[in-house]
Every structure is written in C-alpha cells, then in structure tokens.
C-alpha cells in the first residue's frame, strides 16, 4: 500500500470517529468497561493462582498428632509404618517441647504469655512430607488405619477450596467476558454502520470508478481498531492505577507479609498489556467486519 493511500485512510478513519463522536465515545466506553472487568478478573485469577502455588509449597505436609499414652518404641514403630506408606517422602518428628517453642516463636513478642502454662498440653507429632499434594488423600486414608494417632491435620481442604475459588472465578469471569465482548462488538458494529451510512454516496462512487474492495474497507477497519485500542489503553490505565492503589493499601494498612504473596503491579501490567492490546484491536476489527459484511456489498 502506498504511503499517501495510508494517509488517506487514516484521515478518513479519524474524520469518521469525530463525525460520529457520540457513538465513538460509546464504543470506547464499552471496550473500556469490558476490558476493565477482564482486568479485575485477571487480577483475581492471577492472585489466586499465585496464592495456591505458594500454598502448595507450604502445605504439602500432613501433621499427625500422636496419642499421649504412646511410649518411645511405639512412636518409632509408628514412624516406620508411616514412612512406608506410598507417597510419603520423609518424616520429621516434633516433640511437644519443640511444638511449644515453635509456637512461642510464632507468637513473637507475645510469646511470654505461653510461660504461664503450667503443663505443656501440646501433643507429640510427626510432620509428613509428601511427594506431591495429589497423594494427600490416599496417604490420609492409610493413616486412618493406623493405631496411636489422635488427629490428622492437613491442608488439602484449604487447597481444594482455593482451587475451587480459582476455577469459579475463572468460569464466571470467562462467561462474563464473552458476554461483554459480544456486546462491545455489537456497539462497535453499530458505530461503523453509522459511518457507512454517512459515507454511502462516497462508497457508491468509489465502486463505480473502480476502487478495490480493500481500499473501500480499510478506513472502516482502521476506525474499529482505533476505537478498540483507545478503549483498551484507558482500561489498562484503570487497572494499573486501581491495582496499584489496592496493592499499596494492602502492604501499608495490613501487613507487609501479605503483600509478598500478591502479584506485583509491574508483573501484572506486563501480563495484561498484551492481552488488552490484542483484545482491544481484535474486538474493534471484528466489530467492523461484522458491520461491513452485513452492510457493505463491495
């Protein structure tokens, strides 16, 4: 394509956007709304994914609390039995004293409160490290058949819940996004249709003097893409500043520790930028194709 042709087409597109500025604003707003919602969903999904990854690393252990009456030999026997269960990687034994010390550590400067306890009521326990989180259910089933275990504590439920939430958010999000994108495409198609009507006479003449089909189509195509891109840039801005605000809020008002587990703003934008650009331009392009197919017989 020649440069002056490209100039001509860009000019036509922007003139049309300006001429139908009402509908153009509506299109941009609609792309913006769809992508902002998408941004929120991406934020949630990425964070839930991130959390569940962290959780998997921390929670791939099962803690079994032992009966108070168990003697030393019983304890080591039980340890051997547990060690032979399929899927168990290795065991750590934690005495009741160690458990108390760990608890004091965790309580930090309030640890002195534990000093008042007259007797250590914490049980002895085995901490079972699993080969992977998937075997947890089977291992627990096996543990249940063993004698001398008072309680089994494991985090599969937490993980399951988290995965469940992630999946739920993803599914609902996807459905919502599809609906929003369809609406957006329809609105863009309508905007293009207005341009088409405004330029019908011109197009008619172009056809009779032998303009190629793509020469006629390009300006509309560009118009759709420009509207989509403007919308996606605004949405990206909203998601960026919104996420930064929430991120700061969490790390300042709540806990530094918590913010470590949140996907950083920069990474989030790096991930959403390509998605937004492609989707914005894509929605715009599809919207114009929709309109051109229906209303422009070239």
């Amino acid at each position: 394509m020649k440069i002056r042709t490209m100039n001509y087409m860009l000019k036509q597109s922007f003139v049309s956007i300006w001429r139908n500025r009402g509908m153009s604003v509506a299109s941009v707003a609609s792309v913006m709304a769809s992508l902002t919602v998408l941004g929120v969903i991406i934020t949630i999904v990425l964070n839930v994914n991130n959390l569940s990854e962290i959780a998997q690393m921390q929670f791939d252990t099962i803690q079994v609390f032992l009966d108070e009456e168990l003697g030393t030999s019983d304890i080591s026997d039980l340890g051997k039995k547990i060690g032979s269960i399929k899927g168990v990687n290795f065991l750590d034994y934690e005495t009741k004293e160690e458990a108390l010390n760990r608890m004091k550590e965790q309580w930090g400067d309030k640890g002195y409160l534990l000093e008042v306890l007259e007797e250590n009521t914490l049980p002895n326990s085995y901490i079972i490290h699993l080969e992977n989180i998937e075997v947890a259910d089977d291992v627990v089933k096996n543990l249940n058949t063993l004698e001398g275990i008072e309680e089994i504590k494991y985090h599969k439920e937490i993980l399951d819940t988290m995965m469940g939430i992630a999946n739920f958010v993803r599914t609902i999000g996807l459905a919502l996004i599809i609906v929003l994108i369809l609406i957006t495409m329809f609105i863009i198609a309508n905007t293009i249709k207005l341009t088409l009507n405004a330029r019908r006479q011109e197009i008619n003449i172009m056809k009779y003097v032998g303009a190629t089909n793509w020469f006629i189509r390009w300006p509309f195509f560009i118009e759709g893409i420009v509207l989509g891109l403007i919308g996606s840039v605004i949405a990206l801005g909203i998601v960026y500043f919104g996420y930064e605000y929430v991120f700061d809020l969490i790390s300042n008002k709540f806990h530094m520790m918590l913010s470590i587990q949140i996907v950083p703003v920069k990474e989030m934008i790096n991930r959403t930028l390509p998605i937004f650009t492609v989707l914005g331009a894509g929605i715009g392009a599809l919207g114009s194709i929709l309109s051109l197919r229906k209303h422009l017989r070239v």
Binding site: K2, R4, E202, M206, Y208, V209, G210, N213, F215
Partner: protein, 230 residues
C-alpha cells in the same frame, strides 16, 4: 474491431422476472451506440451486466475477447476502471469542489499526485469547465454538474463510457451541451453506450440505435432513429 460481445445472454432475476432474453450483440471499438426502449425493457439490466453489478443467468459477455462473466469478484474493480459510467443524477460529492470530485476518482485507484495534477485540468478543459474548478456542485447548473460527472468518468481513460440517461434531468438546450461533450469524447476513441428516452437527440445524432422491448433486441440500425412516439 470488436470491443464488447454479448453471446446468447439472458438474465432472470431471483424473483423470476425475465429481464433479458437471448441477447446477441457486438459493439465495436470507437462506436457510439444508443440503447432505447420503453421503461422496463431491460436497458438498466443491460448496463448492470456490463458493469458486473449483476451476473448473467445464461450466456457470456466478452470484453476485448475476455469473458467478464467468469471474472472473479476481486477483479471487478479493475474492470470498472475500463468501463466507466455516468448517471442521470450526477452523483457528485457535495462536500468536494469540482476539482476534488474529479481528483477523487483518481485517488481511489491510487494514481500519483503528479498524474492527478496533469489529468484533472485536462478533462476539465475537455468538458469546458476549467473556470469552475474551485466551485462546489451546488453552485453549478444541472448541465455543468453532469459535465463534471462526465469529466470524472473519463479521467482514468476508460475504454468504454456508459451513459445511463445522462440528459434525463436536463432541459433540451443543456442536453445538447452534454451530447456535444459525449460526441467529442467518442471522437477521441472512447466507445460510448448511451441509454436514453430522448427522441430528438437520437433522431438528430444519426448513430447506431439498439432497441430493446420486453428483454429482446427488436431493432439494431446504424444511423437509426428513436422509433417511438415518446
């Protein structure tokens, strides 16, 4: 030398209307041909088939020995650069000046600015509107507008100029101005096919006349007359 050839061409529209039946016709290079006949005789369909706005139902149309009925859609634009058309209603863009209206036809086929600067004043001169270049269509008379429209249709040097009732909206005197311009274009070698109801013009011009009735050619005379009482 044959430029256009219709071979057993029929056109039936989707609704079952038989618009043209078994048309056989040749048009030579440089010819001036009138297409006459009552409304609904098939003149418009004839023109639409030539412009490939409609497809033939049967038969073939050859242009320079090339079968245009089998032309893929994407090649139609290039066909239209060779077969140009002028309408009764001028079809000028009101927001563009005379010069811009004509230049537009060149811009959309991606002619260079240099070519545009050379061609536009030349065709404006041919239709006698050199002094109106900067005016807008609504500042011109009907005859002048039609001359702009003709200038636009020949600016890309088509082989054929089709005029679909070009004088239909004009008074007799102005119509003659248009005919002079068309005759001049024809003399320069462009084949002209003109569909018309203007009896006086056809009778006076003494050119080939093809008469259509109910979709069939009923008369084809060189140096013919209109042959209908309006």
């Amino acid at each position: 030398m044959i430029l256009i050839q219709f071979k057993n061409v029929s056109k039936i529209y989707n609704k079952g209307i038989q618009a043209l039946t078994n048309i056989n016709l040749t048009i030579d290079k440089g010819e001036f041909m009138f297409l006459v006949g009552p409304s609904g005789a098939g003149k418009s369909t004839f023109i639409k088939l030539l412009l490939k706005e409609e497809e033939t139902t049967e038969g073939v149309i050859l242009l320079d020995n090339e079968d245009i009925t089998r032309l893929p859609r994407r090649k139609v634009p290039h066909l239209r650069r060779n077969i140009s058309v002028v309408f009764q209603d001028f079809r000028l863009l009101p927001s563009k000046t005379v010069y811009e209206n004509i230049a537009f036809a060149m811009q959309v086929i991606e002619a260079s600015p240099k070519e545009i600067r050379r061609q536009v004043p030349m065709v404006l001169g041919m239709v006698g509107l050199s002094d109106k270049a900067k005016q807008y269509p609504n500042e011109l008379s009907g005859g002048e507008r039609q001359r702009v429209s003709i200038a636009r249709s020949i600016v890309n040097n088509p082989a054929i100029l089709i005029a679909d009732e070009p004088t239909g909206n004009l008074d007799p005197e102005t119509a003659w101005e248009i005919m002079k311009v068309l005759r001049q274009i024809n003399r320069r070698g462009t084949t002209v096919v003109m569909a018309t109801h203007a009896k006086d013009i056809v009778d006076t011009m003494q050119q080939r006349v093809v008469a259509l009735e109910k979709g069939r050619i009923v008369r084809d005379e060189h140096r013919g007359a209109y042959g209908y009482e309006d």
